[in-house]
Amino acid sequence: MVESLKDKVAIVGVGCTKFGDLYDHSLQDLMVEAAQMAYEDAGIDPELIEAAWLGTFSPGFGGGKASITLADALRLYGKPITRVENFCATGTDAFRNACLAIAAGLYEIVLVIGAEKLKDRPVRGLRREGVHPYLDAGSTAPGIFALAANRYFHEFSMDRHVLAKVAVKNHHNGALNPKAHFQREVTEEQVLNAPIIAYPFGLYDCCPTTDGAAAAILCRADRARSFRDDPVFVKGIGLAVMTGKPYFDPTFDYIGFRSTKLAAQQAYEMAGIKNPRQEIDLAEVHDCFTWTEITNYEDLGFCKKGEGRYFIEEGHSTLKGDLPVNPSGGLKSFGHPVGASGVRMIYEIVTQLRGQAGPRQVPGAELGLVHNLGGPGSVACVVILGR
C-alpha cells in the first residue's frame, strides 16, 4: 500500500429511507428521500455537491444502467456522476470509490447513494442477470450460499439449529428499529419449522427482497468540523474480488469466503487494527443468509474457522455482547435491496458512533465495521469507521 485512506475522508451526513415493500415509491422517489435526509443531516446546500456515486444493481425503469438514473432523480446536472455495480457489495463499493476521489484531492464534498427497487417485478427472489444459460442453470442466491453451508456443516458437524440463533438475534434487533422491513421477534422454533427454500436454509434463514435507499455526504477530513461536531472518519477500506464461479474452482474449500478475509486484511492494515475481536466495537455484516453471518465472524477474524457457532451461542454478537453484530437487525430484518444495503450499513454505524441509535445503541461505540459480500462469496468490501 503506497498511501492510506485513514482519516482522510469524513462522513458528515447520512440518510436512510424506511425499508420494505414500498409499492408506492419509485426508485427515484427513494433516492430523493435518502438524499434529502443526508443533506439535512449534514446541514448542507445540495449545490455544494461536486460529484456523486450511485450504487444500484438492477435500476429497472427510468434510467437504466447509466448515471442518469441519479442525475434525473435529483436533477443534479452538469457534475461527474458514476454508477457502480459490484454484485451485493455494490453499495460499499460506491462508497469506496467516493472515498478514493476525495483522498485523491479531486473533490471536497461528494454524495453517495445506494438504492434498489426490487419489488417492481413480480418475481420471487433476485432476478439474475448475465448468467450462463447452461453453466449456471438452476442456481439461485440461496442455492449458491446453501452449497457452502452444507459443506461447512459436513466439515464441522453442525446443523440448522445454529442458524436459527442468528435469525432470532437479528429479528430481535430489527424489532427495535423503526426503519427495518421486519420489526418483529421470531422464536427458534418458528425459524426451524419454516418451509425450506434451499436446504439448509428455511424461509427465516433468508433475507427478504426489499426496496430501500440510503445516502451519505462525504467530505475531506479537514473540512468535517465545519459541518458538524461529531463527524465519523473512514479508517480503512478493503475490496477483494475472487472467482464469480466458485462452484467450478477445484481449489476452493467451500467453508468460508476468501474475499471477506482478504478485504478485511486490507481494511485492518489500513486502519492499523491488529486484533479485530478486541478493537472493533460493533459490526454490520452481510447476513444475506443466516449461515453467512456465522462464516463472517470467522472470515472477519472475530473467531477461528469452525468456531462461529460459539460466537453466537455464547452471545458475543448480541446487542449486549462484547462485539454486537448487526445491531440494526441486519439484512435479515432490513431485507437486501442490493445497492442500498452497503450504504444502509454505513448509515447504521455512523448513527451508532454518534450515539443516536436509541434502544439498540451499543454503549461507547468508537470503532465500527461494515461488510458487504457479493455474488457467491465472490466480492467483499470491508469499511472501518471511527470517531
Binding site: 427472489g125 439461485t140 452449497l147 427454500i197 467450478f248
Partner: protein, 465 residues
C-alpha cells in the same frame, strides 16, 4: 468375422404402476409397472446414455446410427448430437433412422452391411423411444420407455452375425401422423393375425430356410411383444417351445418401441453361453429376423449395469399427474433464453463434448475452459482435455426457488474422479437421499426449451458403485 462387440441398455429410473394409471380413469389395470421418463429425458438422452455405457467396452467407434420414432429433432441430425456428447470424431458416419419401431433392427442391418462392406471396426446403433399414447388408452399402460445400444464390428466379437431376412408390409398397426403427439393404435385380433403374426412368421421362415436351420435348433428367440402374451402365441404358431423364448420384462418395463429388440437382445446376451444361436426379431410395418451365434468372447464380457439391477433401482412417480407432467412439460414450455447458435457453436466443445482445461504447469484440471489457470495463473501450458463422466458430490443443495416442473431442484458441486470440478443439476434422485461423497455419473439431459431449440446439457445422477 463380424458381429456384436458390445451391448448396453439404459432404463430410465422412474416408474409408474399400471394400477395408478388405471385408477386415474376408473379403468381396469394391467398388472405390474412401466418405465417412464423423467421430465428432462427424451429418446435422444436415453440413447446417449446407452451409447455412453456401450462404448465403454470397445476401443474405437466409426459410426453412430440412431433409431427412434420419437426423435426430438425433425430437422437436425439427432445422431450427430449424440455423437458429439460422446465426443466421437467428426469423421465418423452418423445417421438417423425412424418411421417405425422396426427402425432399430433396420439400422442394425444397415450397420452390419456397412461393416461387412468396409474396414470399419465398430458402429454403434442406439435405439430409444419415448412413445406417448392417449390418456385412458390401454397403450398408456402397455408402453414403457428405454434406450439401448448395440455395437457391431469385427474385433472381439461376442455374437457372430450369421444372416438375416426381411419383409416390409404396408399395413396399419400403430401409426402417428406428423401432426400427432400421440399414437393411434389399431390393435385387435385382426391386427395381431394379419400384421404381427403374418410378417414375423414370413421373416422367420425366410431366414431359417436361408440358413438351413429348424426352430428347435435356435437357443433363444428374441421376439418383441405387442402386448403381454402376444409373442408367446406367435412363437408357438411358428414352432418354438416356451423355453426358447426370451422373457420380456413386461411386469417392470413395458413395450419400449424401437429399443425393444435391443433391450431383449441385451438381456439374452447377459445370459448367453458360447455357441448359443440367438434369433432376433424386429416388428413394425413388416419384420426383420437376424441370426447370431455367440462366441467364446462372451465369457469375458460383462455389462456394468445388468437389466435386473436397473429394474430394481426405481423411483415411483407419486401420482399419475406427475407421470404425465414429466412427459409433457417441455412440449409446451418455452423460455425466453438469451442464447443463439453463436454461443452454442463457440462452446459446443465445452458444453456438449464436455472439455475442460488441463494446466500442465500445476496439474489443475478445470472447467469451464480457460485461457489462464485458476490455480497458478499460467497462460503457457494449458491444454484442452476431455473431462471424465464420473465423480463424487463435494457439496449440494435442494432448491425450491429454482423454477422446475418437479421441484425441488438438486444442485451439486461434483469433483470428477479424473480431476476437475463441475456445478450441475442432479436428476433421478429422491432429494432427501443426497449425501456429500455420494458417487455420481454424468448424464446428458434436456435442460430447457427456447428459441426453437432443445437445450441439452449435462446433469449428474446417483451411481451404484
Amino acid at each position: 468375422m463380424i458381429g456384436i462387440t458390445a451391448h448396453a441398455v439404459y432404463i430410465p429410473r422412474h416408474r409408474i404402476s399400471r394400477a395408478m394409471i388405471a385408477s386415474a380413469f376408473g379403468m381396469r389395470a394391467l398388472t405390474g409397472e412401466r418405465t417412464a421418463v423423467n421430465f428432462d429425458e427424451d429418446s435422444l438422452t436415453l440413447a446417449t446414455h446407452a451409447v455412453q455405457w456401450g462404448l465403454r467396452y470397445v476401443s474405437s467407434c466409426h459410426g453412430l446410427f440412431f433409431a427412434s420414432t420419437t426423435a426430438p429433432y425433425l430437422e437436425k441430425l439427432n445422431a450427430g448430437l449424440i455423437a458429439a456428447a460422446c465426443d466421437l470424431d467428426d469423421g465418423i458416419t452418423v445417421a438417423d433412422f425412424g418411421g417405425s419401431v422396426r427402425s432399430g433392427t433396420i439400422a442394425l442391418s444397415c450397420a452390419l452391411d456397412s461393416v461387412a462392406a468396409s474396414d470399419l471396426t465398430n458402429i454403434v446403433i442406439a435405439a430409444a423411444d419415448v412413445r406417448d399414447a392417449p390418456p385412458e388408452s390401454v397403450e398408456e399402460q402397455i408402453f414403457g420407455d428405454a434406450g439401448a445400444a448395440i455395437v457391431v464390428g469385427r474385433d472381439r466379437v461376442i455374437a457372430k452375425y450369421i444372416g438375416r431376412a426381411t419383409v416390409y408390409d404396408d399395413f396399419l398397426d400403430i401409426v402417428r401422423r406428423d401432426k400427432d403427439e400421440r399414437v393411434t393404435s389399431f390393435a385387435s385380433k385382426f391386427t395381431f393375425q394379419r400384421g404381427y403374426q403374418e410378417a414375423v412368421i414370413k421373416a422367420l421362415s425366410k431366414l431359417l430356410k436361408g440358413v438351413g436351420l429348424r426352430p428347435e435348433e435356435i437357443d433363444k428367440l428374441i421376439l418383441p411383444p405387442v402386448d403381454r402374451e402376444s409373442h408367446l402365441k406367435l412363437a408357438a404358431q411358428a414352432g418354438f417351445q416356451p423355453n426358447q423364448i426370451q422373457r420380456t420384462f413386461f411386469e417392470h418395463i413395458g413395450i419400449t418401441g424401437s429399443s425393444m429388440p435391443f433391450l431383449l437382445l441385451s438381456a439374452a446376451l447377459e445370459e448367453a453361453r458360447p455357441n448359443d444361436k440367438l434369433l432376433l426379431v424386429g416388428y413394425g410395418d413388416g419384420a426383420d429376423a437376424l441370426l447370431f451365434e455367440v462366441t467364446d468372447h462372451i465369457d469375458q464380457f460383462q455389462v456394468d449395469h445388468p437389466i435386473e439391477e436397473q429394474v430394481s433401482w426405481a423411483i415411483h412417480f407419486k401420482s399419475y399427474e406427475l407421470f404425465r407432467k414429466a412427459r409433457e412439460f417441455f412440449r409446451h414450455h418455452e423460455d425466453n433464453l438469451e442464447i443463439s447458435n453463436i454461443l452454442y457453436g463457440r462452446e459446443e466443445r465445452q458444453n456438449i463434448r464436455l472439455y475442460g482445461t488441463q494446466c500442465e504447469e500445476c496439474g489443475t484440471r478445470q472447467f469451464p475452459m480457460t485461457r489462464v489457470c485458476i490455480a497458478c495463473r499460467s497462460t503457457e501450458s494449458l491444454k484442452e482435455v476431455r473431462l471424465g463422466r464420473r465423480g463424487r458430490v463435494f457439496t449440494f443443495t435442494t432448491d425450491t426457488l429454482t423454477p422446475s416442473p418437479i421441484p425441488p431442484t438438486v444442485m451439486a458441486v461434483v469433483d470428477l474422479d479424473d480431476g476437475g470440478r463441475l456445478y450441475l443439476q442432479m436428476t433421478d434422485i429422491e432429494p432427501e437421499s443426497i449425501r456429500i461423497g455420494m458417487p455420481v455419473e454424468l448424464t446428458l439431459r434436456r435442460l430447457n426449451e427456447g428459441r426453437g431449440i432443445h437445450h441439452y446439457y449435462w446433469k449428474c445422477r446417483p451411481e451404484e458403485r
